[in-house]
């Protein structure tokens, strides 16, 4: 899995928001934003990663259980899927 080309994560006004690059229009009403762990996972997915690799990365970075890590990865990937931001 990998995030789609043409999108970049920027931190503005304390928010981690996904911006389409180049000519693609942006609408400040309804942008996809992440908290810290979401931003972490996005950055990880800028390179091709499997579900397991993502969960392992989370476990290395945060104090969570394995179960929780997998649940968070799944939920995050689902969010990206819904926003059409991921290539699987």
């Amino acid at each position: 899995m990998k995030v789609k080309d043409g999108f970049i994560l920027r931190c503005v006004a304390g928010q981690n928001i996904v911006i389409p690059v180049g000519e693609e229009a942006i609408n400040f009403n309804g942008m996809v934003s992440f908290n810290e762990s979401g931003a972490f996972l996005w950055k990880a997915l800028e390179q091709e990663k499997s579900r397991e690799e993502l969960a392992q990365a989370l476990l290395l970075e945060y104090e969570v259980s394995e179960e929780s890590a997998y649940a968070d990865v799944d939920a995050f990937v689902e969010k990206l899927r819904k926003a059409n931001l991921i290539n699987e």
Partner: protein, 159 residues
């Protein structure tokens, strides 16, 4: 751990400016909801939004432009007139006073569309052109009328 709920965050134009400028420079469009009331009844906060694009073919009378004053304030007003020397005369649709001496170079972007009550307004539509020709020039009368009605209401309440 991750946040999946919808949330509304208010940010100032100043904070968003780097992204706005970058996007405009790349030829893209930027949509946001202005908070001021100077463009009533066309743009009414909260909820209504405006879509801006960089100026590629100059500014003409009737265009809604976005620029930054010397004191740092961001302004989204209508260009009533373009003078012979290229200077613009600006006025918000809900304002009485005009602003002079703005050059096209000072303008950051112009509006390519407005979303009013959830619907996109087509600038080339008959309704909008009627608005431009009739309502906008009449704003002096409209504003005085509003003030007069308010004064009358206050007087009646006192009695």
């Amino acid at each position: 751990m991750s946040d999946f709920s919808k949330k509304t965050v208010s940010a100032s134009i100043e904070e968003m400016l780097p992204i706005i400028e970058e996007k405009l420079k790349a030829g893209g469009e930027v949509t946001f909801s202005p908070q001021g009331i100077s463009m009533w009844p066309l743009i009414v906060p909260p909820g209504d939004s405006v879509t801006l694009k960089a100026i590629s073919d100059g500014v003409k009378a009737g265009d809604i432009v976005f620029y930054r004053r010397q004191n740092g304030e961001f302004v989204l007003h209508r260009a009533l007139k373009v003078k012979k020397n290229g200077d613009l005369v600006l006025r918000g649709d809900n304002q009485l006073w005009k602003e002079y001496g703005i050059t096209t170079q000072m303008v950051l972007a112009k509006a390519v569309s407005v979303n009013r009550k959830g619907r996109d307004i087509d600038f080339s539509s008959f309704g909008y052109r009627l608005y431009l020709r009739m309502i906008v020039p009449m704003n002096t009368i409209r504003v005085f009328f509003k003030i007069a009605i308010r004064k009358i209401k206050r007087t009646l309440k006192i009695k």
